[in-house]
Symmetry: C2
């Protein structure tokens, strides 16, 4: 046996017992003829003591231990003189009588502490050392705990986890597929699934009724923001259900997770339509941890003064930042720059300071009579001491999205986005289609299998852009954690959808023939939802990036810098696949 106990479990009640521990040297220090070693394993840290006066040779060997040496120690548990109340094992130490170096370590390239001195790049290259830091390891432990809770919850609700294949066919709709050349079928390729969407719908056709899978998904997208080429979904589908059934089950699941993981009783989730969310927060994933709701100011500011920007605008909206009227010129300039950044893209920021002394100061004072600012104050519900920030533009929703970014920035600045506070809600009634400027056509907001709202079906022929989908997103703290929809199970309606999306019948058949055919054999009404596991874990753990809850993530170029992958192939491999790399096309 390499150990009889772990480094996290010994307490004062164990005093007097001989134990064997194994782990890594966190640090060593000499003090008055004693050598102290902090021994670390996954379960905690235990202090070892080597007493020079009792065994000088042993102590000498302990002095030679370097950081991250992997060692095994025998000794007696004993009460510490100076206890450390911050550590669960802080009451005891081990009076070591044997020491065995299991393997030595080079000096690690960064310190293995919660607050490390290692930059992102070096920590990714040595990810196996980064994972020794308890701050990182805890995220993976949380991830494990969440998946166990999720699986047992869904199992208890009669859901069956079914593994769907990773090597499937390519469907060039939506994001870009990763593809896999088939040696046995030369010139042909598999694709990795962007999600098990069509396969889980087939399982519904098969009568599986309640399916789930914690499934790897793959998208070959440029990795802006917090994305990974491979990510994990909690993928679910149910038959013989309406939207309400789905929301109920997955709200219960979310409530269960918040309770078990964070000890939080989530209240019943509010529902907000997509239109309302856009109007009030400029986002289909509003962060409701704080207010600063949008107030439309068209009536108050358009045509009531001589500011040409407002007079030409199709949308003017503001947020009221409480207590921020004392923002300095410099701070306001920063905000003005912030909204001009390409990521935000707003043309200009207008501010109105309602000073604590009752005076008003705006960046466009000269264009308006003072009573207009009083109307703004009323409309915004602003109090003396508040700062009102206003954006305007041609396109209402685009301007709202810009205002949303500003709102979130102000939330951050005011410390209102508390990582220990969770406000979840359902966004419902998404538009079924969205216009793609790039493709110059209507695209499915979710995917081509989403059910239109039955009330809007006549609009499919007359004004498809207005059709609402029976689709829903689970949103928490400004993050889209999950989403889903009722699916079309009627062949005729599905045909019409493909038609509106610009598919020829031939193309629809070539891409989705298996599903279209399957629906001819008694397809049940069905609906589903998928949570992003990486995002859900990050949310629960309060992480800034999903990378922090992934054991071996890739960087923004899609590289695993630790494995040095991807890499070049052996020419023999390419030959067997009957492929040639042709970089001339670049």
């Amino acid at each position: 046996m390499y150990r009889t106990k772990t480094c996290g479990e010994l307490r004062l009640t164990d005093a007097g017992n001989e134990v064997k521990l194994a782990g890594w040297v966190q640090r060593t220090r000499k003090m008055g003829g004693m050598t102290f070693v902090d021994l670390r394993d996954r379960y905690g840290i235990t202090q070892l003591v080597f007493d020079e006066s009792k065994d000088a040779a042993l102590c000498e060997r302990a002095n030679k231990l370097g950081r991250e040496f992997c060692i095994q120690v025998v000794g007696v548990v004993s009460e510490r003189q100076s206890k450390n109340p911050k550590m669960p094992t802080g009451d005891i130490e081990i009076l070591a009588s044997e020491l065995n170096v299991l393997s030595e370590s080079l000096t690690p390239p960064f310190t293995i502490e919660d607050q490390t001195d290692g930059g992102d790049d070096i920590r990714m290259k040595y990810r196996y050392l980064d994972l020794r830091r308890s701050a990182v390891r805890k995220n993976l432990e949380l991830r494990h705990k969440m998946t166990i809770l999720i699986r047992n919850f869904l199992d208890a609700q009669n859901f069956i986890e079914v593994e769907t294949p990773i090597l499937i066919g390519s469907t060039p709709e939506g994001a870009r597929d990763f593809v896999v050349p088939s040696r046995m079928n030369p010139g042909q390729f598999y694709a990795l699934p962007q999600s098990p969407q069509t396969l889980k719908q087939l399982l519904m056709v098969s009568g599986f009724d309640r399916y789930f899978q914690i499934a790897k998904c793959f998208r070959d997208e440029d990795l802006r923001a917090d994305r990974q080429p491979e990510f994990t979904q909690i993928d679910c589908e149910m038959s013989f259900v309406e939207q309400e059934d789905v929301l109920q089950i997955f709200e219960d699941l979310a409530r269960h997770l918040f309770k078990e993981i964070r000890g939080i009783e989530l209240p019943a989730l509010q529902r907000m339509t997509w239109h309302e969310a856009m109007r009030r927060f400029g986002s289909d994933k509003p962060d409701l941890r704080f207010g600063m709701e949008f107030v439309e100011l068209m009536d108050v500011l358009k045509g009531t003064g001589s500011f040409p920007v407002f007079n030409e605008a199709n949308y003017i909206g503001g947020i009221c930042v409480p207590g921020a009227a004392d923002y300095t010129r410099k701070q306001l300039d920063q905000l003005t720059e912030f909204v001009k950044r390409p990521q935000v893209g707003a043309k200009g920021l207008v501010y109105v300071k309602f000073n604590a002394d009752g005076t008003v100061k705006s960046s466009i004072d000269k264009f308006y009579e003072p009573e207009v600012w009083q109307k703004v104050k009323e409309a915004m519900g602003a109090k003396d001491g508040d700062l009102v920030l206003i954006l305007s533009g041609d396109n209402a929703n685009k301007t709202r999205v810009q205002l949303c970014t500003l709102r979130l920035e102000m939330g951050d600045r005011l410390g209102l986005r508390d990582k220990d506070k969770f406000v979840c809600l359902w966004i419902v009634d998404f538009p079924l289609f969205e216009w793609s400027d790039e493709e110059q056509r209507l695209m499915a907001t979710h995917h081509p299998f989403t059910m239109p709202n039955p009330d809007d079906i006549p609009l499919l022929d007359t004004d498809p852009a207005k059709v609402r989908a029976v689709a829903y997103d689970f949103v928490c703290d400004g993050v889209e954690v999950g989403g889903g929809s009722l699916r079309i199970h009627d062949g005729k309606l599905q045909e019409k959808m493909f038609q509106i999306l610009g598919f020829t019948p031939e193309r629809a058949m070539a891409q989705f023939g298996f599903l279209i055919n399957a629906f001819k054999y008694g397809a049940p009404p069905h609906a589903g939802l998928a949570f992003g596991l990486d995002r859900f874990v990050s949310l629960m753990a309060g992480l800034d990036s999903i990378r922090d809850c992934i054991a071996f993530p890739k960087n923004n170029s899609g590289r695993d810098v630790m494995l040095d992958a991807p890499g070049e192939l052996d020419p023999k491999q390419l030959e067997e696949l009957q492929l040639k790399v042709d970089l001339s096309q670049e």
Copy 2:
């Protein structure tokens, strides 16, 4: 609500209640003014009755229902006149008052029954219909149940499930990799993991201690026998352990599964060395459900008669088939043909019939004095009425493998391979290396990271082929369900292994540099094991093929005939990947 009850749950105690059911029409039949419909869902079958005398129009609509229509029905639960004790719902029927066709069905291409009339190909093409058959669905339900049991068992033992990446680097050692071109890194490729072997070893370096993952693995091999290009492993690794710790935990896991799934108390598993298994059964995965152990007959038959084949043989071995002395000439001819098949490859079969009347008849009577057959009888422990089958050859182990195939064939013929009987054992002390005729070099029997038996380390320099590995397989009923090994955690020993395997230091570094480097930072002693989930489920369910427990399997050409994948890519996709298909190399 689409339904208030499922089709599997109604009992006589529900009589009088109005219920709503939804499901598929299994069959309809008219009888004396009544129409009976068997309604099926995942949970069972419930009989619906439409009474012409009560609602002729409704009954008329019921008469028009076709097989596999998806319908919804309202009615009152009522006691059946003629009960069906074979069905859990056989005591009741539903007196239908409403019928709603949710979606119609074409006539399915085969019957959706436990015993279907559909051949393999058509069932695979319409796999979504095949999955409606309860015989198939039950396998996936079992698979789900097993994974839940496995995860909860391992979780309770402090194992953490960690997801390792699917897009990794190619290591052209062992089987062929599936590769994935990287658009963001033109000319470079990811590989899909053949197993998470190196990644789980890195997690041990990270201190994760007890890892598991139910992981998809990929091997681009020609799909002879019962293989799939993607398959699933229960992949585990532990630190600070010896072989004994690993065997104990996973024997406990297996015992837990057999108990929970099959209600069987597995006895403590016997351990058999690889050498013993080869000697006694000619296989490293012996089927111990029946006897017919090999008896070596070199002393008895080599040089004791004039049969040249035996006199030149380096191995002569036999099995005693109890009570088979009455095998006819035709049956014996069949066996002679059987051993000559290319899959077996034996040169010739010799039989000795110890007839019930005490006489002896052998295919090589003329070469031996009668007393030799008495010695054979003694050596084999044969009784009157038994049949002894003998094979011989130049190479002892090759001949044993042939004799093993014959033994299994006889086990099948005698009905001794009972699918409800489970005999599990550990095979230990595998050879560390095996000679590859193809590559003309020693290859790692398992993989290059397997620890040699400490007693055999001196042999690494003198006679590596004799070195035993600390490696073990979990075998049940002739199936290798799992296997693993203690790993090398010492850099120097690992270097030596690579050297023996013919890796230059540069090549070792290029392929496994990340692991070699990681081991420089205090690698703990570690060991692991992986079960093949598909095989384990098949074993538990008594399936002939792993395909039967996989939702969407591929055929022997690696094709998913339902999805029609793999397929050709859009030229734009190839362009983006800077690849060209070059079929001229064929």
